[in-house]
């Protein structure tokens, strides 16, 4: 069990990451605030807690691997990189500008700290699967994590990867679903309803855990469970129940904040809310 003081430290990181997300999208003039804000605790738990990422972490061969499959949440990924010291904080303001390493969706050729270029939804879990198989092949004590959106899992390729990982007991693979309940065009139930998730995934041979994805202690606990032998010889699926736009009242749980500009006034109000 993670110490309470460590949770407090991670929560402080999450607040700064939220502030960075708002600042970046305000500076860029476009972006995806809703889905960036909902996955903050997940990314904080993965990079700051589980991987212990820092300036030199990514250069190591032997380490965990994290793919942000829902690539439109790129501002959250860049903000997390800055928070753990992987990229300079000042660079965040270059998001989406011509020549920037911080592309609108993550690009590993420009920013090597990005594990995988993503943005065409539905592709990241397969890549994480390939990495997990490689980890098994080399018998390395690390895990391959994919952060997915609940709109993203509309894609058939996701279910191809789910079927393969279940069939072949790929226990180095951890999928984390940012289940904020809203996709681009509206609520999940209005577009494509795939819930309940847990019984489907269990039928495919995955070990599943559901929790409040905005509660840092619960997220950390779930990531620790998935990164242990406890679930047995099964791939692991974490269903994080989150809120789109979490942390800012006027964005929270609203489909129109999926892709949205942030005005200077909204930035000021948003920063006040997230930093408290």
């Amino acid at each position: 069990m993670t110490e309470q003081k460590d949770i407090k430290t991670l929560e402080a990181s999450a607040r700064r990451i939220r502030a960075h997300i708002l600042t970046q999208i305000n500076a860029a003039g476009s972006g995806h605030p809703g889905g960036s804000m909902s996955c903050v605790e997940i990314l904080t738990a993965l990079f700051a807690h589980r991987a212990g990422a820092g300036a030199t972490w990514f250069g190591r061969n032997a380490r965990d691997h994290v793919i942000l499959s829902k690539g439109h949440a790129a501002p959250a990924l860049y903000a997390t990189f800055a928070e753990v010291g992987m990229i300079p904080e000042a660079e965040l303001l270059t998001l989406r500008q011509l020549g920037s390493r911080l592309q609108g969706h993550p690009d590993r050729t420009r920013l090597p700290e990005v594990e995988m270029s993503t943005g065409s939804l539905g592709q990241g879990l397969s890549v994480s699967l390939g990495i997990a198989l490689a980890l098994q092949l080399r018998n390395e004590p690390f895990y391959s994590y994919a952060v997915l959106g609940d709109g993203e899992i509309n894609s058939g390729q996701i279910w191809e990867a789910i079927a393969y990982a279940g069939t072949h007991h790929v226990d180095r693979l951890v999928a984390i679903l940012d289940a904020n309940g809203i996709q681009n065009d509206g609520r999940i139930e209005e577009v494509l309803e795939l819930r309940p998730y847990a019984p489907k995934l269990e039928a495919f041979g995955w070990a599943v855990r559901e929790f409040n994805g905005q509660n840092m202690a619960e997220v950390v606990d779930a990531v620790d469970w998935a990164s242990s032998d406890a679930p047995g010889a099964k791939p692991r699926f974490l269903i994080a129940h989150t809120t789109k736009g979490a942390g800012v009242s006027f964005m929270a749980d609203r489909a129109d904040w999926h892709s949205h500009t942030i005005s200077d006034e909204q930035l000021k109000a948003g920063l006040k809310e997230v930093m408290g």
């Binding site: 061969n61 594990e115 270029s117 890549v127 390939g130 990495i131 390729q157």
Partner: protein, 323 residues
């Protein structure tokens, strides 16, 4: 060199048998080499590899998109995945995954499209690929090959194993005659272009195992007194500088391009762009598959029906020479 299949005429070699032997050698030489299949391992000749290296063969089932994505993951982790399935299923179904998960991040994935073109024959249009090279050539950063025969494929296998980054190799199903010299060493690469018949009257470019049919047509024309300089192209992208030099000598004349591929986005389009860039005045006669899908039929009958072999091809080349 691969053993000649018992049902093939003397001197004929199947590209996939050469592939099967080449991956055994590469697998022994480099433990990073992996084979990925999509429920067609018996067709792609990877079963021997699977038997020798069971941990390094992965069958993804009929799920090509997941297979391509997993290949990207293997490449990130330092392996060299060979992705094997029919050209049609690979390039049409997994196009976005090839582009976004492999080419855009410039990962070292080797794609092999089996049964390219229409010579697969009786199975018909859904299994045939007349647009695979157009798709793969249009995606930035993928080197594209269509070997002329078994010997040529051996050189291509050397090359794709050596070069870093994504590659696509189109293979044909049926055994075809050996028309290029045997591979000289394990490091010999594919030539930028290769003169298959000598002649002064008409310049013809071709690619893939269809080259054997074009050689037959060129020989028939020679008997009629028309000399064909036939140039085989193995690597369609990037095209070598030597290719432009060939056309320079025939500037102002009609040049024929014969390919078992759509006339849109294949060798002819690549050559046209190369010649335009080099300022070579030319008129290309595009002898390929017009804007249509393939169909069922015996491979030889199909190629003739599409005007890519036999008397119909001879007639089209003769017409081209007349300008």
């Amino acid at each position: 060199m691969a053993a000649t299949p018992t049902n093939a005429p003397e001197g004929y070699v199947s590209l996939r048998d050469v592939f099967g032997d080449a991956i055994m050698a590469l697998g022994a030489r480099d433990p990073r080499v992996l084979m990925l299949d999509a429920d067609l391992a018996s067709s792609t000749r990877t079963l021997k590899f699977k038997k020798a290296y069971p941990d390094r063969h992965f069958n993804f089932g009929i799920a090509e998109q997941n297979m391509v994505g997993a290949a990207a993951g293997f490449a990130i982790a330092g392996y060299i995945p060979f992705v094997n399935t029919f050209a049609s299923f690979l390039t049409r179904r997994a196009c976005d995954q090839i582009a976004v998960s492999v080419a855009y991040p410039r990962l070292n994935v080797k794609f092999f499209g089996f049964h390219g073109g229409i010579n697969l024959g009786e199975d018909g249009a859904t299994q045939q690929a007349v647009e695979d090279l157009a798709i793969m050539q249009a995606i930035p950063g993928i080197r594209c090959y269509a070997p002329i025969d078994g010997n040529d494929l051996a050189r291509v296998m050397n090359e794709v194993a050596e070069v870093e980054g994504p590659t696509y190799v189109r293979l044909s199903r049926f055994p075809s005659p050996l028309v290029t010299p045997a591979v000289a060493s394990a490091t010999e690469r594919a030539a930028a272009c290769r003169v298959l018949t000598e002649g002064q009257d008409l310049l013809v470019f071709t690619t893939s195992t269809l080259a054997a049919k074009v050689i037959e047509a060129a020989n028939a024309l020679k008997a009629e007194g028309l000399g064909v300089r036939l140039v085989g192209i193995t690597r369609l992208k990037p095209l070598g500088e030597a290719v432009a030099a060939e056309a320079m000598n025939f500037a102002g004349k009609s040049i024929a391009v014969v390919e078992e591929h759509s006339i849109h986005g294949g060798l002819a389009d690549g050559l046209s762009a190369l010649f335009d860039g080099a300022g070579i005045v030319h008129r290309l006669e595009r002898i390929g598959v017009p804007d249509r899908f393939g169909e069922s039929g015996h491979p030889d009958a199909l190629l003739e029906a599409f005007g890519l072999a036999g008397a119909p091809l001879v007639a089209r080349l003769k017409a081209t020479a007349r300008g």
